[in-house]
Symmetry: C2
Subunit: 253 residues, 2 copies
């Protein structure tokens, strides 16, 4: 109901989607952590994360997803596939999605060469692949291992290694427009959702400008739900929380 509520409140926050690129997530080998990080960062900056997708290291799949998401949302953040190995095909796929030329670019090459020279390692052709940047893209700094990400149009292409992804997202956030941060408060009720659903639905109807979500859990035989109230007006969120406290006096914040 989030999206409906935001439409109702006339909030015009920028929107975003994330595209996670990598076989390792879909094969069950690795657990993605970048989505959770990005979601938190965007929430505090008033950018509304509306969708996420995970695709394999498959050029056709990446191109299709980038085109669809880029056309729909204000921003798209990608993670993964920009390293030096044969399975790193993200930069070429992004260039294809935008019909942009791609080659080794002098600015990216200079950054890589500085890093490589300082560490006394070899400038292999594979390392130089990381200087392949689509025409017209703006570089995203990589304070960890030099090889830059890039923004092309509204798509921000970041590394998959979490530490580097997080640094690159911080770099992007410093230069894009933010929205109105969404305030959020939550209440833990140790009662099955079937019992709280009636009064909760009535409350949600009385506060159409808020998003009131119920997220059930079952822990050690106890059924309960975390009720989360979100909205851009802090005072309204607090008022709804006071009412919730009256409805479910045994609940804990």
């Amino acid at each position: 109901m989030e999206a409906d509520v935001k439409a109702a409140t006339g909030m015009a926050n920028p929107t975003a989607a994330m595209l996670v690129i990598g076989d390792e997530i879909l094969s069950g080998r690795t657990r993605d952590t970048n989505l959770h990080h990005l979601a938190g960062v965007l929430a505090t900056h008033g950018i509304d994360l509306r969708e996420a997708r995970v695709v394999a290291d498959d050029r056709t799949a990446i191109v299709a997803a980038v085109r669809a998401l880029s056309a729909t949302y204000t921003h798209v953040f990608t993670s993964g596939g920009i390293g030096p190995t044969h399975d790193d095909i993200t930069a070429d796929a992004i260039a294809e999605a935008f019909g942009a030329a791609i080659d080794i670019r002098d600015d990216a090459k200079a950054i890589l060469m500085d890093f490589i020279t300082a560490r006394g390692v070899e400038a292999t052709p594979e390392r130089m692949r990381m200087a392949r940047i689509p025409e017209g893209a703006v570089l995203i700094e990589n304070p960890v291992s030099a090889a830059p990400g890039f923004s092309l149009g509204n798509v921000h292409v970041c590394a998959g290694v979490p530490k580097i992804f997080e640094a690159m997202v911080a770099g992007v956030m410093a230069r894009i427009e933010h929205g109105q941060p969404v305030m959020s408060q939550s209440l833990r009720v140790e009662r099955p959702e079937g019992e709280i659903a009636g009064p909760l639905g009535a409350l949600a109807e009385r506060y159409p400008a808020l998003s009131i979500g119920s997220y059930p859990f079952s822990e050690g035989g106890v059924f309960g739900a975390n009720i989360v109230v979100r909205g851009v007006e802090g005072a309204m969120v607090s008022a709804a929380m006071v009412e919730l406290g009256r409805l479910f006096p045994e609940a804990t914040r």
Copy 2:
């Protein structure tokens, strides 16, 4: 490159996508764990998970994603949004995606009533919402809290609470066709990807029937990569691993 390799080997395993439904993942409140679980289960059953999407509790978004994924893959697994509260709209959205009627169904109602009677709780209209099942759907058993999931066409609609999601996936796996499980072995190399990329790319070219992925990490100042070799022929995977061991003798399995 996974998908390309599979095309090259002529593997005809069933394919799958996952659709995670819920504001709580996109707002950064909750970390999804169901994707990782499903990925592992599908891998061991030879079903090729090709894509995952996360959308908000927004009917239009759910309908569009279900239609797109259902038309593209053999199976679609959804998680979330089938509880009794006002923000649980998945069942109605799935019915809409398939143009199916939806109402309280006697078989689902009987299951819920048994559970409700045994626990001595009230059969509220909100609880009865969980017996709303699209026409033509097959129920998926919920051994934890009774309220069933359902399969409609090739879409398997499961609960979001991890314990219930996992039980429902097991139920679905028992009745759908499996493929040839993919064998996987991995090697940890503590060298930057830029150094290993050349020989690794050459090896990948010599084994077109395998998927050879390189997943970089940086831990405490050490740059390295986990190299993962995957394929349906165990002997071929092992042969490639022997060659990898020769290329990177310092590596550890």
